[in-house]
Structure formats: structure tokens, C-alpha cells
């Protein structure tokens, strides 16, 4: 037989620990931070002197930068498009939203390809 007092405490704990929705600004900030990581990796590559590439000991750094940049960039296509949707949500409905979604995703992919 279950303990009614314990059951009561558990019920109260469920109420007391109601899930907390994260503020909208957090998602924006987090996605922006991931974007900065991508940019840093990109700058790292651009700043690298080609001449130093003759020495194999110097290959690790740019390869790591490419890996970080690629990973963050591709992942951010989804996140950034989602972030734009939040801004547009109040104004756009139905088919127009679907069209914008497709266009946004295509633009993001194009931007990433052009930056490489």
C-alpha cells in the first residue's frame, strides 16, 4: 500500500518543479554564439599563410578549423532559419510561410557555400 503522505509530497513536488520555458532571447543568443564559432573558424583559415602549409606539422590547425567551421555552419542552417521564423511568425501565415521557409533554407545553404 502506498504511503499517502509520500504521495502527497510527490504531487506537491511535481507542482513546485513546474518546467520553466527558456526566454526567447536565450535561443537567439545561443544560436548567435554558435555562429561566432563558425566565423572564428573561418577567419582562422583565411589568416593562415599558404607558405606555412609546406610544413606538414602545420596542417593540424587549418584542418581543425575546417572541421569546426563545417560542423557549426551546417548545423546553423536549421537553427538560423528557425530563428528567422520566430521573427516572422507574427506576420506570416499559411502558404506564404511555407514559401519563405523554403527560400530561407535555400539562402542559408547558398551563403554557407559561398563563404567556403
Amino acid at each position: 500500500m502506498s504511503d499517502p503522505i509520500a504521495a502527497d509530497i510527490e504531487g506537491l513536488l511535481r507542482k513546485a518543479f513546474a518546467p520553466v520555458d527558456p526566454p526567447e532571447s536565450l535561443a537567439t543568443r545561443l544560436e548567435s554564439t554558435l555562429q561566432e564559432l563558425t566565423d572564428l573558424a573561418h577567419e582562422e583559415l583565411e589568416g593562415w599563410e599558404l607558405s606555412s602549409m609546406r610544413d606538414p606539422r602545420n596542417w593540424v590547425r587549418p584542418v581543425a578549423a575546417v572541421a569546426i567551421g563545417t560542423a557549426a555552419g551546417a548545423g546553423l542552417v536549421v537553427l538560423r532559419v528557425r530563428s528567422q521564423h520566430r521573427k516572422q511568425k507574427k506576420h506570416v501565415q499559411g502558404l506564404e510561410l511555407a514559401e519563405r521557409t523554403f527560400r530561407s533554407a535555400a539562402d542559408e545553404v547558398k551563403r554557407l557555400v559561398e563563404r567556403r
Binding site: A6, V20, A27, R29, V78, L79
Partner: protein, 175 residues
């Protein structure tokens, strides 16, 4: 698995568990400012180690892994603040809950007493209760997040609830 697939899966993980990580962080540190920082750091760290975590998870859900990252980062936050006496830990350790209007009208005092009692629990017991009741994690998930066995976790939660009952009763009980 190719990079694009990995990134899609990370995006899915982020969307599915942002609220879980934030809820955990909020109840762990007690204020929105630090909860936001903790959540952000958790996902950045998760992003860096996602591929390896996927390989090692063997298909198991990654929520316990995410919460474990948050748990470790929160411990670091408290440790760092303990080294800086000018920033009192109490400022970030106050538990407060977000509730519906109905809750506030019907049971504000009870909930306040419960949360007050939770503050008096040892860290591991308090964390286990947050995982169970704020995130709805089962014993196995909590065990993975806390690096314990399933059996030890079951005992931990049982003792946490018993101790909480005693604390609440000593402070006048719930109506």
C-alpha cells in the same frame, strides 16, 4: 554518419531538450541570469562533443548526457563562486518556482514550504529530485546523468523524499 546528418541530429537534440536543460539549470542555480549562462554553456559543450557522445551512446537517449554536462558546469560555477567570497552563493541558490495562477491561489504556501525544504537537502538528493520532478526523468536516466547505478539512484530518491517529508514536517508540515 556524415556531417550534415550529425548536424541535423544535434539540431533535433537542441530543440527537443532546450526546455529540459533550462528547467534543470533554473532550479539548480535559482535565477534566470545564471540559468541562461548555464544552458548556453551546456549546449556549446554538447556541440563540441556530440559526435563522440553519439558513438558512445549506442542508440540510447542523450538527455542524461546533456543533463550531466549541465550538472558538472553547475558544480564548477558553485566552486568558482566559493573561491570568490564577494559573490555570495546564497544570491544564486534560492529556489523559486514558476506557477500558474491557479497554483498561486490554491497552494502557494505549500509549494513554498516544499521548495524551502528542498533547499535544505544535500546537493545530490536535491539534484535527483529536480531531475525526477522538473524533468520527469526515470531512475535509469537519472542514474546515467549522475554517474550512479540504477539501484543507488532509486535509494537516493527514496531517501530524498523521506528526508524532505521530515524537513517539511519539522517546519510545520503542509496543509
Amino acid at each position: 554518419m556524415d556531417k550534415a546528418q550529425l548536424d541535423r541530429e544535434f539540431s533535433d537534440l537542441y530543440r527537443a531538450h532546450l526546455r529540459d536543460v533550462y528547467s534543470y539549470a533554473y532550479y539548480r542555480v535559482g535565477n534566470h541570469h545564471d540559468a541562461e549562462d548555464l544552458t548556453e554553456q551546456t549546449f556549446l559543450q554538447a556541440y563540441r562533443h556530440f559526435e563522440r557522445a553519439q558513438q558512445e551512446s549506442d542508440g540510447r537517449p542523450l538527455r542524461p548526457w546533456l543533463i550531466r554536462i549541465a550538472h558538472n558546469l553547475a558544480a564548477n560555477l558553485y566552486r568558482d563562486r566559493a573561491r570568490k567570497p564577494q559573490t555570495p552563493i546564497e544570491d544564486t541558490g534560492t529556489l523559486s518556482a514558476t506557477h500558474t495562477t491557479e497554483d498561486l491561489v490554491e497552494g502557494r504556501d505549500e509549494l513554498a514550504r516544499i521548495l524551502d525544504g528542498v533547499k535544505d537537502l544535500p546537493d545530490d538528493r536535491r539534484e535527483a529530485l529536480i531531475m525526477r520532478f522538473a524533468l520527469g526523468m526515470d531512475n535509469r536516466e537519472i542514474a546515467r546523468a549522475m554517474g550512479r547505478s540504477d539501484g543507488a539512484t532509486k535509494v537516493l530518491i527514496h531517501r530524498a523524499i523521506k528526508q524532505l517529508e521530515e524537513i517539511v514536517a519539522a517546519k510545520g508540515g503542509v496543509s
